[in-house]
């Protein structure tokens, strides 16, 4: 499919809990590892996933 698009309509699956996210480790802009669960250990956090950087 063009652009790697899905051939069938998918549904979003928002989680009730962020357990599946907590142990994921991503790099920040400096290339340093960040464990996602550490982001909300002290206070709530808004996590925004971008489709593009524009």
């Amino acid at each position: 499919m063009p652009l790697g698009a899905s051939t069938g309509r998918q549904h979003t699956r928002p989680p009730d809990r962020a357990d599946a996210l907590a142990d994921l480790v991503l790099q920040d802009a400096d290339g340093k590892d960040v464990r996602l669960g550490d982001l909300w250990s002290g206070r709530p956090v808004v996590l925004a996933w971008l489709r593009h950087y524009g």
Binding site: P15, L26, D28, S41, W49, R51
Partner: protein, 135 residues
């Protein structure tokens, strides 16, 4: 999605804000420079594992380029002066927003149904304030 433009409001509300994109750290640095958001936590997820765990979806062609999506995107670009740049990574991967409370619960979620579907900053800010009050 332009939540980073109100990052001071999120900070004042007592919540953290982190933005996750595809690509590599240099793309995150470009994003920070282009948007003048020094200090904003921007993470990269080239494997899109976090997108999957967040429940975001892959769009169909119509959800990327359908008439309604194009019209809404054009109106938004004209209103904000912001135009989409080249996509990094999987071009059909949609994004979204979760608020995660300190206990790991997710009191708010808005995952994009199509490429033009973005939660408003005001909506997310209201939900963030509610999450803080409930903490």
């Amino acid at each position: 999605m332009q939540l980073h433009r109100d990052r001071d409001k999120f900070e004042a509300a007592g919540v953290g804000l982190a933005v996750i994109g595809q690509g590599r750290p240099e793309h995150a640095r470009d994003f920070i420079a282009a948007n003048e958001v020094d200090g904003l936590r921007v993470l990269v997820d080239p494997a899109r594992e976090s997108y999957e765990a967040a429940g975001a979806k892959i769009a169909t062609v119509n959800e990327l380029l359908g008439p309604r999506v194009v019209a809404k995107g054009t109106a938004s670009a004209l209103r904000t002066g912001l135009f989409q740049t080249r996509t990094k990574g999987h071009p059909a991967q949609l994004g979204g927003v979760l608020i995660v409370a300190s206990d790991g619960s997710v009191p708010y979620a808005h995952l994009a149904g199509d490429a033009s579907d973005n939660a408003s900053n005001d909506e997310v800010l209201r939900a963030a304030r509610k999450a803080v009050r409930s903490a």
